[in-house]
Chain length 347, copies 3
């Protein structure tokens, strides 16, 4: 695709094109990082990236830029085709969709799929090889079910959802529109609830359900449990990375982002726009306020205020933690000083 | 189901019914938390829950109570049907089984299942679509194998086991009766054993096996490795949550409970009734005594005494850790005080 | 197999046989740990194992030993057949391969496998039941694809690879020779990349690919993501345990070993021979030098020098951390001493 054609397509996108210069108008075969890009590839830069030097040395053919004088001048000087956007990262995302159009599997039901006679599949939906769909389950329109997906009974899925290979949806799951469940993820399995008795652990039946609102993404190998009663709910537009555990009865607001290997214990409640770094743990029934953030490996045992940024285990305000962590490495020295002072101080 | 019918059914259970008043004897359609329960729903309260206020405001139709005067009086006053149990949580578990009877898949072998000619399947067992069973593997009676389960060769499974969708059992696994393996769990895969050589890592063959004793549950996405020789053994009645790693050669006693994302390194030995919180790590060959507990995110590097409660990384006694963690957040302040004292102390 | 036969086979191995005494030349039925070995079983000891006592009490039939006088004398005295190797652990690995020969599934394509008409499968490769292979994917020679494996489009796999049950390879994956992907692992799924916009998170398309060089092993349930552009690369001979997360755009050198539940965030770069303990986290774009090691649960936020050994969160040099961790448990005491000193010091 010619660079000029791409720019024309991006004009109607959300990234706000400001201007462009096509230079030699290269034919783009794909995209790459600025460091590795070749003459037939597209790349991008963001404000404050301080990568002027990279642009100087890059062999890139065309670039999406922020409205930053030095970068524009440099691109012009080096005769690199460029386009200026208010949000060049978003423009790059939109460009990738154009340069790498996704192949859609055929909109039919593969003969090796096993559908219950009471399962319903919407128009335009692709049901891949070896998919199983249980009784009373309903799949919306324009969905893609990749090979090996297993849908138990009584599941309802909206339109334009994509379920990757070998993902499993347990009874009672509700998915909105445009949800993505990645490979080997398990949604709606039984929560870890047991009653201690004289005879040992007795299972608390998990009769609730998991609700994924619109545009939720569930990472590969991630598990989302259903509760004993009520529901586990993931808010619209929330994105969950790989190998995350969402305990039974958890709820999240809209637009959260949970990085890989996060674990949220039963009954915790996350507000809107919460961002959790990798390997963060949230304890039972904790409430995390809107737009709160926790850096990776934090252990959140107590409620967190809206907008707070926390770190560490147990989690404390990020700025305080940074200072504490620095001091931690001086502990042996501090202990020594303390011993000396004690010796020298008259009792 | 009428409340009075339910109470009659619970009479023969293990929760020890003491008394009941049927009130208007509502027809129950299901159960819910006290906060969300409606007039046709059942809920429960436990001693010390201090939820009298919730009961005051609840629209619940019927409730299972502990033998606590104020709660009983309040239920009576509000004309809520109630029953008093020594263990209302256990009663609730038993009630859920009555209110939400589980649908059992047909006790046959689905035509799309692939069974080795030397595989044996017991009476009453349901083998779902696309299940694979390898040579010399034997499945007991009354089991349920959900779609996509893969059983390698030489696996032996007891009676009344349930294997959820896409779970995998590797060669040599031994499962007792009433075991549950949740979706996408992997039991019996090769332990992570390699010999360092001049040519790089050389695999140590993992020829041992995994034994799950009776009533063990393995969470979704959890992995249990087999050892190079001997066995990995999970004691009877032990419950393991999602995304847990059990290394090769680990053994646990009876009735342990391991929360999500716990990792137990090779050769560690857990006693009976050990409880580990989420994301806890146990190092190689560590021995954890009976009934020991570790709070979430603990890192256990050294042996733990029976009955001990530990926290932190490295794990120390829980009470000490709580005080240390509080002091940790005062470290910058302490360092400052220390500097001042040093300056003021005559050398 | 007779012990003398086994020793003869090991002669041509890499473990450097020095001498042997066949004793009664037992017929070996298998192998076990020294503690549990019986008269028809093989075991081994390493230098410095300090297990002379175990050998004294063992019922083992034959043993592989290091060149250590006291052990040799003891074996001779107890009439235990033995062989002396420079590397007895490696000899034991080779012995296990002899004592437990692996059953190879038939080198054909199971009739229930679903292969795209444009998929290519090499000679001697076994494609198990219910395997799916997408368009333009090419599998090399002598591979084993266990039941339920899903290979998307445009995947290229070398020779002698083994893919375990229900593993998933996403579009564009490149596997070298002799790779192993364990059960339910997911290689090449979309990286966790989203652009924040006024409308919420917008997916950054992940158009890159994952490359596993020769002899890479990927653990059960492990996830390796592909990047938006470029590649995620795992160096030759690198071994990755279960439930590990490899973020998009990560690269590792040759011969690394990553223990279970490690998480490597996007764009991090590991050198050759890096060893990470269980549950270690590595932050975005961090560079870890050759042969660096991090003990379990470390959180690596900053670049690590080649050969460094680090611990803790944030990770600091291991020796320093050990002292800091010891001092940590004395914090309450230190705080008390500090308060007392302050009181006693004239202001």
């Amino acid at each position: 695709m010619r660079f000029s054609t791409l720019v024309k397509l991006l004009q109607s996108g959300d990234a706000a094109l400001q201007s462009s210069e096509r230079g030699a108008d290269p034919i783009l075969s794909g995209a790459a990082s600025l460091e590795q890009a070749k003459a037939d590839q597209l790349s991008f830069l963001e404000k404050g990236n301080a990568l002027t030097i990279q642009l100087k040395n890059s062999s890139v053919g065309a670039i999406l830029l922020p409205d930053q004088r030095d970068l524009i001048d440099l691109a012009r000087e080096r005769q690199i085709a460029f386009a200026v956007f208010t949000n060049p990262r978003l423009a790059f995302a939109e460009a990738l969709d154009q340069l790498y159009p996704r192949r859609r599997p055929p909109a039919d039901i593969h003969p090796t799929a096993v559908l219950d006679s009471q399962a319903v599949v919407g128009p335009g939906t692709s049901v891949g090889p070896r998919v199983c769909i249980g009784a009373n389950s309903r799949i919306g329109a324009q969905c893609i079910l990749h090979p090996g997906v297993v849908i138990y009974d009584d599941v309802i899925i909206g339109d334009h959802c994509e379920l990757h290979a070998n993902a499993v949806l347990h009874p009672g799951c509700r998915l909105g529109d445009r949800c993505v469940v990645n490979s080997n993820a398990v949604v709606g399995s039984e929560g870890f609830g047991f009653v201690p008795t004289a005879k040992g652990w007795r299972k608390m039946p998990q009769t609730g359900q998991v609700v994924l609102e619109d545009a939720v993404e569930i990472g590969s190998g991630t598990t989302v449990d259903r509760p004993s009663v009520g529901e586990t709910r993931i808010g619209a537009g929330t994105k969950i990375d790989n190998l995350v555990q969402i305990g039974h009865g958890v709820s999240t607001g809209r637009g959260c982002a949970l990085a890989s290997q996060v674990g949220i214990a039963g009954g915790a409640r996350l507000g809107h726009g919460v961002i959790l770094g990798g390997q963060v743990g949230v304890a039972n029934r904790v409430v995390v306020g809107d737009r709160a953030m926790a850096s990776s490996k934090s252990g959140i045992h107590n409620d967190i205020d809206a907008g707070a940024v926390v770190s560490g285990f147990p989690a404390i305000p990020n700025r305080l933690w940074l200072r504490c962590a620095t001091t931690f490495s001086k502990l042996p020295e501090m202990a020594k000083t303390l011993r000396e002072l004690k010796r020298e101080t008259p009792q």
